[in-house]
């Protein structure tokens, strides 16, 4: 039953993608409420799925790669719902929806929803660590999307080739402000997640800890570079994309190794 909610949710996000693509293609894109409502509806169904799954498991639904992907997609949608309208980044929805569709479609199509043979004992620190880290990933994902939007617009302004999408992108300085705030938000949450990881009461895999600290250092370096005016906005935007790719790889690694049977 819970997977049906997820299918409906993915359809909602897909509707936002299709509509935006159609409007951009016909050069009739206009900032309407459709994307926000489609994403809002998709978010509601995601929440319903996570709630049902959480009740069934008796804990935060982060027990396998499938659930991690859905939680990540939910975090992305959540952060968008919070910052998208606030920063008037209406087109951010058009960039957010494809990422969510990609994450959820992958989770639905690839057989990664494998139930655990043994029931995991409740561990509030572990659940806090996992969930707060994934919300941080959501913020990093949106910073990455804003980074893509920044680079697209920067490129068009440099080359004087103003394509259709240019007219719907927010101003460069507004985008950069959004990137900076999303980075700080994600960095704060990620730091909390990283610190809480040391209280889970289980032995920590050394490689994962080193990688997690590596990602933390990368984002710290980006923010430091931006704060000290050593990094140009274009490079901050590019590093947001690299940083999120690294974080996503790490997430994949952590979830993959966590699912492997203990030796």
């Amino acid at each position: 039953m819970d997977r049906e909610f997820l299918i409906v949710s993915t359809t909602c996000f897909l509707a936002a993608v299709v509509r935006t693509a159609f409007l951009l293609r016909s050069k009739k894109f206009h900032e309407g409420q459709f994307n926000f409502f489609a994403i809002g509806l998709g978010f509601t169904f995601q929440t319903a799925f996570l709630s049902i799954r959480g009740h069934a498991l008796g804990r935060c639904p982060l027990t396998n790669l499938f659930e991690v992907f859905i939680f990540l997609a939910w975090s992305v949608a959540l952060i968008y719902m919070l910052v998208g309208p606030a920063y008037r980044l209406s087109l951010m929805g058009a960039f957010t929806a494809p990422l969510v569709v990609l994450l959820q479609s992958f989770a639905l199509l690839v057989p990664i929803d494998t139930p655990r043979t043994s029931k995991l004992p409740a561990n509030s620190w572990l659940e806090f660590h996992a969930s707060i880290s994934l919300v941080a990933y959501g913020a990093f994902a949106l910073a990455c999307i804003a980074g893509v939007m920044y680079l697209v617009q920067e490129r068009q302004l440099k080359t004087h080739q103003l394509r259709s999408i240019f007219y719907y992108l927010p101003p460069l300085t507004d985008l950069f402000t959004a990137i900076t705030r999303l980075l700080w938000c994600g960095f704060g949450l990620y730091t909390l997640g990283l610190l809480s990881g040391f209280f889970v009461g289980q032995p920590l895999p050394t490689v994962q800890v080193i990688c997690a600290i590596g990602v933390w250092l990368l984002y710290a370096a980006i923010l430091q570079g931006q704060h000290l005016r050593r990094l140009a906005p274009k490079w901050v935007a590019a590093l947001c994309i690299i940083g999120f790719s690294a974080a996503l790889t790490l997430l994949w690694g952590i979830t993959f190794t966590a699912q492997m049977p203990p030796r």
Partner: protein, 355 residues
């Protein structure tokens, strides 16, 4: 009830002819004599049009006569420059006007504001009734739909407006932007004025002739900067507009690069409208610098105009749907309700509706 429109526009006449019909203080009296139950005068620099509803047909000559500035000097028979639309055609014409399809620059939106003002003034003074009320309300709706569902208003179509639009795409709010005008030419003055109209308040002017810089600075509430000190300004400014008559470039990559290192987090928008150019083209390769010369600005304006023209068919389709719908309204219930409020147009109403 006959709904009709009589007028002339930039399509049919030159500016001298339009001038002779715009702003006639006696127009309202003459229209009242012509027994229009409702009437509204839409007068802009590109058109002079009367939208009216009357029980009987009012001859075009009568409308033309009352529109003349000086009735004594002209006869009343000269109507060849005027067009006349009745019923659904009148509605179609107004819908095209408010949507910007009939404008000199296709898709401009100023006309909608002018039509709204004209309607509002006429409504307040009681010159409009249900017939014109429905017509104009529908026209505003159509204009909104056309703007929303087509790209008819997209982009900028003049060099100045392209520069301002690009500045807004880079900086968002221009209120906190610092602008330096290098050279006090006419085009740079116009661009600066356009930036001021969009919120830019910190304006600096530098010119070889200090006196000219001072004069222009006073005109546009700016600050004059000695010509030898303008390169230092590049540390602070956000927008540089150059239009000097220098035969060699004034700004090269090697001069600007060290300055930019001190302002790495802030973009610099350079508008070079001088011919020959004041800024070396390789400056555009510097991080955070966006250099546009006169050709690139013109090219963007041209692209926008082409795009707007491509949208005309889509806009016409929207208008046709509304015209058909409004046509049914005219032939149906509108006539009955109009009879109740028939009244001659008051003298003040039409005067107020003139722009």
């Amino acid at each position: 009830m006959n709904l009709f429109c009589v007028g002339l526009s930039h399509h049919t006449t030159n500016v001298e002819t339009r001038e002779s019909f715009a702003g006639n203080a006696q127009a309202d009296c003459a229209l009242r004599r012509s027994c229009c139950a409702e009437a509204l005068l839409l007068a802009t620099c590109n058109r002079v049009e009367v939208y009216a509803a009357a029980q009987t047909r009012v001859p075009t000559e009568e409308i033309v006569r009352c529109l003349r500035r000086n009735i004594d000097n002209h006869g009343c028979g000269e109507t060849s420059a005027f067009y006349r639309y009745e019923g659904a055609e009148c509605a179609q014409h107004l819908f095209r006007v408010t949507s910007g399809l009939d404008s000199m620059v296709v898709g401009e939106t100023e006309i909608l504001g002018q039509a709204k003002k004209a309607y509002e003034s006429a409504r307040k003074s009681g010159a409009t009734g249900p017939c014109l009320h429905r017509l104009f309300q529908r026209a505003f709706r159509v204009a909104k739909q056309v703007r929303t569902h087509t790209a008819i208003t997209r982009g900028s179509v003049s060099v100045g407006s392209v520069a301002v639009a690009l500045a807004e795409k880079i900086f968002g709010d221009l209120a906190s932007c610092k602008v330096l005008l290098l050279g006090a030419g006419e085009t740079s003055e116009r661009t600066a004025r356009a930036l001021i109209s969009r919120g830019a308040s910190d304006l600096r002017i530098s010119n070889r002739s200090g006196e000219r810089a001072e004069n222009l600075a006073q005109l546009v509430a700016a600050r004059a900067v000695p010509f030898e000190k303008w390169p230092e300004q590049c540390r602070e400014i956000d927008i540089l507009i150059t239009s000097t008559s220098s035969s060699a470039p004034l700004l090269a990559r090697k001069n600007l690069a060290p300055i930019l290192r001190q302002r790495i987090d802030r973009p610099l928008f350079i508008i070079d409208i001088a011919v020959p150019r004041d800024v070396d083209s390789d400056v555009n390769q510097l991080e955070g610098v966006y250099l546009y010369d006169i050709d690139s600005l013109r090219s963007i304006a041209q692209q926008s105009l082409v795009l707007r023209r491509q949208q005309i068919a889509a806009a016409e389709a929207i208008i046709s749907r509304h015209v058909a719908d409004f046509g049914e309204l005219i032939s149906g219930g509108l006539n009955r309700s109009v009879r109740v409020v028939e009244h001659p147009v008051s003298e003040t109403s039409l005067r107020a509706s003139e722009l």
